[in-house]
Symmetry: C2
Subunit: 246 residues, 2 copies
DNA sequence: CGGCGCCTTGACTTGCATCAAAAGTAGTGG
DNA sequence: CCACTACTTTTGATGCAAGTCAAGGCGCCG
């Protein structure tokens, strides 16, 4: 069931962390209420991004990380020979921009897949605050570590798995992450194009389309453009072999 | 030129960070001398690992991260269906174990590829110290971010590049990392087996062997078992297209 | 010197890419 | 509201890079 309340979130830009429906999965996890308010003080909420607009560009000086409040975002790297590689898809409550820390400039661009709202968290302030709030420091270390382990799962997927397994894994990843957000694990929209899926999974657009059609014909998923309904969850999980988790 | 002094490093287990030849590329970068000594106080140096011994096992409770002092290490993930995926190769001065932070247990095993010495850095102490030394906190954030960006480069490599490009990229990665350590960029030993290389790059052992033979026949590299001499650096760089950096 | 891993090489197969074209969808302006 | 254009997706036919299967070589160690 597609939950339109998500769409509405970016219409209340003044919402603070303490009230935010996503607080339980976002940066503030495990913080005391007064620490949440301190965090809230440094967060900047701008106007929503329209589809194809960018939160930051590859090459931009690194100044902040961003929490996605609503919508969805892809991160994209440009290779030296000018090709684009999609490095991740992000859903509300997830943090983007941590790639910029190492070299002090972003190595990815973050592009909105639909109208999206983000909370900008200036990094220098976050650093100061982390030094004062041990749980926040710990939380941020954890978020980066989670990014690392997730990327390792993607590496495994790209290194070892067939086209069918890759697609099934991506569908299940989005399914479980939706579920974590109180949405349906069974029925959801894919915010990205076939081309983005293929790029992310190391497949051509034709292969993505063929695999999705096949899963549809086999009755494992119902598919209408970007709207997916997982009809046989167990079969899909068997196909995936590897569960990429949230 | 293979520099045997590297081999000797693990024979001086009492070395401290301030004296360590690797300090300029390891965790202590940009720390004041007294801060380095504080860091040094929490570091534990055990006996060297023999080949195939593990610094930690996947599933182990996360207690520490580890700086590699000498030798080389691979990190390996086990997929649900029992296959192994090599997720990284590590050289002296590099930090391993940051995968364990997110879930509070390691998701990889760290396996010595040859006799190797490591510095164990208990994480709870590192956290405390990071809160007191801003440069250390920053440095550790940077190391994790670097891990993220490097993995994204590997994802791109696996998603978009041919067998030749993957092998060339790995050779160049090891070359530049050796160079950073004051060793030759041109001539070096590959510490890992063909099987490890293939596993890491998403290729079969036969393909790795064929590509290396081809590079050899073309005169781009000289190859004797694990000993590599890059004869035509520019050609190799052209083959790689993408430079995976240190 | 014989057995066991690791690596190389060759012959054959196959999954996915490539090429091509048509159908579907969205956006724009008259 | 429809016509027109441009983009995305689907489907089909063909080709190729890398996988699989198989055999043999090399080095190491007891």
């Amino acid at each position: 069931m597609y939950n339109p309340s998500l769409k509405q979130c970016h219409t209340s830009p003044q919402a603070n962390c303490a009230d935010c429906r996503l607080a339980s999965i976002c940066l503030p996890i495990s913080l005391h209420i007064d620490d949440i308010n301190k965090l809230d003080d440094i967060i900047q909420r701008g106007r929503p991004l329209n589809k194809t607009e960018r939160a930051y560009y590859a090459g931009d000086k690194f100044r902040a990380v961003y929490a996605l409040r609503s919508g969805s975002i892809k991160t994209v790297q440009v290779t030296p020979d000018g090709q684009e590689q999609v490095t991740g898809f992000y859903l509300p409550g997830e943090i983007i921009g941590m790639d910029g820390l190492a070299a002090n400039h972003h190595t990815n661009s973050a592009i909105a897949l639909e109208t999206s709202a983000i909370c900008e968290i200036p990094f220098s302030r976050l650093e100061e605050l982390s030094a004062k709030i041990p749980n926040l420091q710990r939380r941020f270390f954890q978020l980066m570590s989670k990014e690392i382990t997730q990327e390792q799962q993607l590496i495994t997927l790209l290194g070892k798995n067939s086209a069918d397994e890759r697609i099934a894994s991506l569908l299940l990843s989005i399914s479980t992450r939706n579920h974590t957000r109180g949405l349906s694990a069974k029925e959801f929209y894919l915010p990205m194009s076939r081309s983005d899926m293929g790029n992310y999974l190391g497949l051509t657009i034709e292969t993505v389309s063929r695999v999705l059609s096949r899963l549809h014909k086999q009755g494992i998923i119902a598919l209408n453009k970007k709207h997916v309904n997982i009809e046989e969850m167990d079969t899909l999980k068997n196909t995936a072999l590897v569960q990429m988790d949230a």
